[in-house]
């Protein structure tokens, strides 16, 4: 699927649409008789199919995690960490990245056609839980003929999937890498998600979720939702450094009445505008609810230690110092529960001023931590082969 254009990039990639024909029973009881997944892979699956890494994306992610498309130079969202010689080394691993159901980059979701009605699913797409994504990923795993992931890796909501994998299919992964994540959202976190949903729902073009059939688009609402989210993904320090009180237009000089716009206003508006053209409002509502509903140990008597006692894999937990949306405290809770459950776990708190977004951005220490851990994983595989 890949061809090299430079030493550290997986090069030009193409996505593949994979039809999963095994029925998928969702947590809410609805059965999807079949579903489609957009998938990209990087690297080569080894003979015993043991070197596969599963990438789990977060709220707004897609299958395009690394490399570039022939007609689009913008690299995938985790390109800094996936590629030849990078921590998720495509020379050693077979990296699998998919767009999960309920999202909007070509996999079955609110923007695709519901075969029963012949119309887009829209707001009627069934309510999803993180375990549904894990279940769909397991069907993809079967399709690819993989027995056991060398590692399941994800940040934020992706980390929740990596943890859920460890509990649901303990023998189908050797490592779970949980980055900037949490065993459940805090009230403050749910509150931010509700602000975002309310912003979308308040847009008159939302049409109670049926905007597609009405040929409308709640772009203002979705932009506002993204702007709220974006502020929470950055740190106060970084925003201060990057934008401060710089003006984009206007002046405070006496006698000047031209409208004033701060750089941060302009930046946020641009981000919101861009996102509202790329993402689907129903998908945003659906996936933020997924985040809110996630509670790792709900069915384990609310005891994380009991929950993790079902896991068999080794864990790496990573947090970022300035992340206040998924704070290092949450990652330490995961680590403590894993230690108490007697599981192999390492934890690193990376010094960063980039807030929650840090898990997507280049950072030498983060790179080292992931690299050291994963190269040990690869050594073991190659030693065993």
């Amino acid at each position: 699927m890949t061809s090299d254009t430079s030493a550290s990039s997986v090069g030009v990639v193409t996505a593949e649409k994979i039809l999963i024909e095994t029925p998928l029973t969702l947590a809410c009881g609805v059965v999807l008789p079949s579903h489609e997944l957009m998938v990209e892979t990087y690297g080569t699956l080894n003979a015993d199919k043991s070197n596969a890494l599963l990438i789990c994306h977060a709220l707004s992610g897609s299958h395009h995690a690394a490399g570039v498309y022939a007609d689009d130079e913008k690299p995938g969202w985790w390109d800094a960490y996936i590629g030849p010689g990078k921590p998720m080394d495509s020379n050693r691993f077979f990296v699998v990245s998919l767009n999960n159901i309920g999202s909007c980059f070509g996999s079955t979701g609110p923007t695709t056609i519901n075969p029963e009605s012949g119309k887009p699913w829209g707001a009627k797409f069934p309510v999803l839980r993180a375990r549904d994504w894990v279940e769909s990923q397991r069907l993809l795993m079967e399709h690819l003929g993989i027995q056991c992931w060398a590692a399941v890796i994800g940040g934020s909501l992706g980390g929740m999937q990596a943890m859920r994998w460890a509990l649901e299919y303990p023998d189908k992964l050797a490592n779970s890498i949980v980055i900037a994540s949490s065993m459940k959202l805090t009230a403050q976190n749910i509150a931010f998600n509700e602000l975002a949903r309310r912003a979308i729902q308040s847009d008159p073009d939302f049409c109670e979720g049926n905007y597609l059939e009405n040929n409308k688009s709640p772009r203002r609402g979705l932009a506002l939702a993204r702007m709220i989210g974006h502020v929470t993904y950055l740190s106060d320090e970084l925003m201060g450094q990057k934008f401060g009180r710089e003006l984009r237009s206007g002046t405070f000089e006496q006698g000047e009445a031209a409208p004033i716009e701060f750089q941060i206003e302009s930046y946020l508006n641009y981000q919101g505008e861009k996102f509202s053209g790329d993402f689907d409002a129903n998908a945003y509502i659906l996936i933020t609810k997924m985040l809110d509903y996630f509670d790792l140990s709900r069915e384990y008597q609310n005891d994380p230690v009991q929950a993790f006692s079902h896991a068999n894999c080794d864990f790496l937990v990573v947090a970022f110092s300035s992340d206040w949306r998924f704070s290092p405290k949450r990652s330490r809770e995961i680590t403590d529960a894993l230690i108490a459950a007697g599981k192999n776990v390492s934890f690193a708190e990376i010094d960063s001023d980039q807030g929650h977004d840090a898990f997507l951005l280049p950072n030498p220490r983060y790179e080292q931590v992931l690299g050291s851990y994963l190269s040990k994983v690869a050594d073991k595989l190659e030693g065993a082969a």
């Binding site: 790496l316 330490r332 680590t335 403590d336 230690i339 108490a340 007697g342 192999n344 776990v345 390492s346 934890f347 690193a348 708190e349 220490r365 080292q368 931590v369 050291s372 851990y373 190269s375 040990k376 073991k380």
Partner: protein
């Protein structure tokens, strides 16, 4: 005898005191060498606590469980008696409150192993007495102003603290490199033991 040999002696003691297949917590585990050895030889389930990024990386590369945690900020995240053995090698003198760390170690672990440089060793005494300067030796390589070793104590000081806090000394071993030390370390440890290794319980 060289430093490698004395390190080997210390590790031999620790090996003989740690039970196979047990749970071990190593405070200030450095590059994870000791835990890697214990894992290999005794099949322990070990975790190291460390704050130095490079050391953490070396642990990860070795496949040793390492958790980034500042010991000076407490260890309340570990339950009582949640480990069979809690180890601290050559780090007690760098803690903000060594006596509180010691209490925490004995709360978390059924038994503890501690090693520390004996500041009562004749070389340190001679350095201070004859030169009138704070000792800078092979073991204590820092200058007084940049040393991470903020508490200097002797073998006798440590035993007094154990008595005061009702800490049981199960076993102890003294290590010295110098010929004189090797002859006399057991007879007069406070003067001839360069490093002391203690096996403690509540």
């Amino acid at each position: 005898m060289n430093q490698v040999e004395s390190t080997r002696q210390i590790n031999d003691s620790i090996h003989s005191w740690v039970k196979p297949n047990s749970r071990v917590l190593d405070l200030g585990c450095g590059d994870g060498r000791l835990l890697a050895q214990l894992q290999k030889d005794l099949d322990i389930r070990g975790y190291g606590l460390e704050i130095d990024p490079d050391s953490i990386n070396q642990c990860l590369a070795k496949g040793v469980n390492v958790v980034e945690q500042d010991l000076n900020k407490g260890m309340a995240n570990f339950a009582d008696d949640s480990f069979d053995t809690v180890i601290m090698t050559q780090a007690l003198q760098a803690m903000r409150f060594p006596h509180l760390v010691l209490d925490e170690m004995l709360r978390i672990g059924t038994q503890c192993v501690i090693t520390f440089p004996n500041f009562g060793h004749w070389k340190a005494r001679a350095y201070l007495t004859l030169r009138g300067r704070m000792p800078v030796t092979k073991q204590l390589t820092y200058q007084w102003y940049d040393t991470p070793n903020i508490h200097f104590f002797t073998y006798s000081d440590f035993e007094a603290l154990c008595r005061e806090r009702n800490i049981k000394i199960l076993r102890k071993q003294f290590v010295g490199e110098h010929f004189l030390d090797r002859q006399l370390k057991n007879l007069w440890p406070n003067l001839f033991a360069e490093t002391a290794v203690y096996h403690l319980s509540k």
